[in-house]
Subunit: 313 residues, 2 copies
């Protein structure tokens, strides 16, 4: 397709830049028609990649996952992966942000009036935006370690909706966030219907017992930060099991941490009524967190943003 | 709150009228910010009421259910129920439509930048629109009877998300619609994780065996058209059980029908490989369907639209 890439000059892009169905605009102008099924049936998939110190982190992995999610949900925008990559670079370039939260959505429109009212008759389209970096939790919470609860609402099962296709079916997550709030905790962890650990709103969950790391292998998004933590475990010679993790194992673990694009490796120091590691981030978690940020500062999986694309030549 | 009700004159409202967070507009201008959680986390509830021959059907019941759904999902717009009623009347009055599909949504915005990123910090707001009446299925399909399949994707369980709070978590429904398409059927019926009948995309399911009617009592939206069918059964002296309905019972039933605001009572004449009632709508279904439309023509639960509200005095 033919894309028009505007220059940054003469518009204030600092609050964020967006791309919607072929056109660039400031983020506050990016809006979804109330009748589109991306909203009205949450018939949409998305991905989020971070920019840190002027570079995307694992952009190839995010683009690959985004395309896989689109296939699962039978969504296909007109843009190719290379076009999406150029759009994301340009969005960050317009804002000039060195640290950014960059989201890409593919959503279903709706059939035209008079056409059969079926998703097979509706086209899908791309939306994306870059805004200032969003921390999943405030940096001071990440420093002290997050206080979490095991939510009483179970995660929507994979058989109903494949969690690997990143989606906005968050009612279970939202209920769990309110429950955490009521119990004075920062965040929740959700179980599956059989009492195994799944994930939380925006993060994967890991536990460490006797020096061995484990993270759930089903009913979870296969997070890119999760992948990074698994890679780091391997590099550091730590055993990391991808398997079923019963809630009892989590509650009795030596350490618990979560991983997210919006925060990297985040220690958990309280879980329900339990205080872990004397209320301080555990040693394995800290080693992983330090390695994560050290490697990122050194350019691990980094793709520098093409800031020049939004400037006059 | 102070509402400004515009007059219909000098704008073409025929494609639909909308209300969004305090303001009226033509429906194509009603759009949801891409960053709002109503879209981005499907943190939204909704309801749909029909207007037929210039009157709302069971508007009180819809308003009551909408308020109950909002409570369940911890959403609270600034509008009272009476204000919502006036808004819905005015939307239809602007369009002048005698038959309309009228939707009301309450969705969560997002926290302001810098505030804690939690749904408890985000306000919620009302959106609504009236457009020309949408049939769930084409009238000719409703006449011949719908061809349905039992979907292989199960319905999201109630423990994850209370189906009584009408919501846009439709990925299971969308997958089932594609499956029906592939199998040459019109529509799907979804089961729960234990093989009991739940509902389909936009409708409740009933079966008739030996003159007795039954419909599932759990993991379903408590549809207003479902309620109307139950009321009709009582008036006509037909036994109607609200209970667990195993898929085997549905597959062996004498008759199957579905109910929806977007179509009333709709016969099912094929279900998977089974042909019901010689491929014609069954006698109980037909009696219910005729009674439904006869009573509606006579003003059953009808609230005439206040068309004058959009005209100069």
């Amino acid at each position: 397709m033919t894309l028009q890439f505007p220059l940054a000059q003469s518009v204030d892009w600092s609050a964020g830049a967006a791309y919607l169905d072929g056109a660039f605009m400031v983020v506050r102008d990016a809006k979804i028609p109330i009748t589109d099924w991306g909203y009205r049936r949450s018939d949409v998939t998305y991905d989020v990649v971070s920019v840190w110190d002027g570079a995307f982190f694992r952009l190839d992995d995010h683009l690959r996952r985004f395309r896989a999610s689109m296939r699962t949900m039978r969504l296909a925008p007109q843009e190719t992966d290379e076009e999406i990559r150029r759009i994301l670079h340009h969005l960050v370039a317009l804002t000039g942000l060195r640290n950014a939260y960059v989201a890409m959505d593919c959503l279903r429109a709706r059939p035209n009036p008079g056409e059969r009212y079926h998703p097979a008759n509706a086209r899908s389209y791309l939306a994306a935006f870059a805004i200032p970096y969003v921390w999943l939790m405030k940096p001071e919470i990440i420093e002290r370690g997050a206080h979490m609860i095991i939510a009483s609402t179970p995660r929507i099962p994979d058989v109903c909706l494949d969690a690997r296709a990143k989606n906005f079916h968050w009612a279970d997550m939202t209920a769990a966030l309110f429950e955490a709030e009521e119990k004075g905790a920062d965040n929740p962890i959700l179980l599956d219907l059989d009492g195994n650990v799944t994930e939380g709103p925006g993060y994967n969950v890991f536990c460490v017992t006797d020096g061995l790391v484990a993270t759930p292998d089903r009913n979870v998004l296969e997070g890119i930060s999760r992948l990074s933590a698994i890679d780091l475990c391997r590099e550091m010679g730590l055993g990391c099991g991808l398997r079923r993790v019963p809630v009892g194992e989590l509650l009795e673990a030596d350490e618990v941490f979560v991983t997210s694009t919006a925060g990297g490796v985040i220690p958990v120091t309280r879980l329900d009524s339990r205080i872990l590691g004397n209320d301080r981030p555990g040693p394995v978690t800290e080693r992983l967190r330090e390695a994560y940020w050290l490697k990122r500062r050194k350019g691990w999986h980094a793709e520098p943003v093409d800031y020049a694309s939004a400037q006059p030549r």
